[in-house]
Amino acid sequence: MADQRQPTVIADNANIVYRIYGSVAPGANSPLASLRRIVTGKKSAAVREVHAVKGASFVAYRGEAIGLIGTNGSGKSTLLRAIAGLLPVERGGGIYAAGQPSLLGVNAALMNDLSGERNVELGCLAMGMSPAEVKEQAPGIIEFSGINDRGDFSSLPMKTYSSGMAARLRFSIAAAKKHDVLLIDEALATGDAKFRKRSEQRVRDLRKEAGTVFLVSHSEQSIRDTCERSIWLESGVIRADGPTDDVLKEYETYVNK
């Protein structure tokens, strides 16, 4: 099917495995056991593998907004990180993307000891803006985040912010740049109703600028409002991929079982 739609993200049998060190049952990490491993050359039992995403394949096109749904720990955030190129995909598969996908999530830690203003500057520079662009964009970012609505918070350290304020600021920073592919991890769920409305509008604007948006959220409402296509992940396997209404219906019957 050679249609004119321009693919922006393609996952071809993507497997993602976390390797975790030092999380073993007591005893397996004792000095004697470690010594035995060194002597026998056996692979360390202290390394546990978690197969977080199993053989995911899909194609995302320009102008689409795709919701990722699934229960906690189903691999949604992991998949987003792999699309952003932040986590390596195992051999034998791959994820391909147009340009550089940007991940924006509530976990996107900036420096908590610094003021909001300086975090805006740092975040913009880390996204590859020039200092001139940063100067131009910074007031708009702070304005959009609304952290100054209750007095001058932008000059206070970020550790004094409420979690909602910090999440709003992070969202505003990431949304300030035009992205070919924007990956949003639960960010819309943290703000208050007023901010949610504004950020949903921003996501729609970003889509209009010929990008693709992936949205991970537990709020079915925000998925329904912003995405017309959804992918349902369960234990790392894609269970359904299609129009949001159909996928959500299937998901609901699974959850309510």
Binding site: Y96, L122, A126
Partner: protein, 298 residues
């Protein structure tokens, strides 16, 4: 893989081919070294801002703030003066032992703090790495920049100590600058090397304090460099005297002090310092670059 074959059969051409035909790039692809270097250069403003942010974040909670950058080396020198100048009062056959000692302590301290901070630069910023896309080498390089600032402060203190202890100000002092430039490049390479190594083999962090301590004793920081020639010979002496830290410290002492015994003639020291700088600076950079795509794994 069987799974792939099944998935492919209903999509026509394989997804990988589709991606290639639309010019998509593979996520997590390692860029070539020149491309990576250009990319890193375009992030120079981020590196500078990050280094500044680190300094203000670490000093922001103190009342004296930036004054600590001068106070820390002063206190450091004071402690060594108390122990070696007053309590033990060893002149160790060196004219102006206090200046000799402080030069060693400060120059070694520069590399020491780069290694300590560099060993954390990936692991402590894992959230930033997982959230934003920037060349990862920015982090260890920013660490090295922060320490350059501290080093400049401690060099001001050192120069004051050297002058106060009666050394004359000569044209030879200008050699201080190339010596410290070489050491800075060496340190940056070391920070890059250590940060990748520790992000892969976390156990090594436990060894860092001991490695640094043995390195300090091997660099003639607390005693004159002639100490080694009196005690060991042959290949052992060659090994100790080719220690890059010993060489950088010697170069600084040579630049600032009049009558100082060097382990080797000065031109030979400069040559070795240059070799170490290129080797560790470039080697560390290449080693770090090779691991670029794995740092997010944590």
């Amino acid at each position: 893989m069987a799974q792939t074959a099944v998935a492919d059969s209903d999509t026509g051409p394989s997804l990988t081919e589709l991606a290639r035909s639309h010019g998509l790039t593979k996520a997590g692809r390692l860029p070539r070294l020149p491309e990576y270097t250009r990319h890193l250069w375009s992030y120079r403003h981020f590196i500078a801002a990050f280094a500044n942010a680190k300094v203000s974040a670490s000093l922001g909670s103190t009342k004296l703030g930036v004054v600590w950058q001068l106070l820390t080396p002063l206190i450091n020198a004071g402690v060594y003066y108390l122990i070696f100048g007053v309590l033990i009062n060893t002149k160790q056959d060196v004219d102006n032992f206090i200046a000799y000692l402080c030069a060693g302590v400060f120059v070694f301290g520069f590399t020491q703090s780069v290694v300590q901070a560099g060993s954390q630069s990936i692991t402590a910023n894992i959230a930033l790495i997982r959230a934003l896309h920037f060349p990862r080498a920015s982090l260890p390089i920013a660490v090295s920049l922060v320490e350059v600032r501290n080093m400049i402060a401690s060099m001001i203190v050192l120069v004051a100590i050297v002058l106060l202890t009666g050394e004359p100000l000569t044209a030879q002092w200008l050699l201080l600058i190339p010596a410290l430039v070489l050491q800075t490049i060496f340190n940056t390479g070391l920070a890059l090397f250590v940060s990748r190594l520790i992000s892969k083999v976390t156990d090594i962090r436990q060894l860092i304090p001991y490695i640094l301590r043995i390195w300090m004793y091997g660099s003639a920081v607390l005693y004159p460099v002639t100490f080694f020639a009196e005690r060991i010979h042959g290949w052992q002496l060659t090994l100790v005297e080719s220690n890059p830290m010993l060489i950088y410290i010697e170069l600084v002492r040579h630049a600032l002090m009049e009558n100082v015994d060097l382990a080797q003639p000065a031109p030979l020291l400069w040559l070795q310092a240059a070799i170490w700088t290129v080797l560790v600076g470039f080697g560390g950079y290449v080693y770090f670059w090779r691991g670029e795509k794995g740092y997010g794994r944590g």
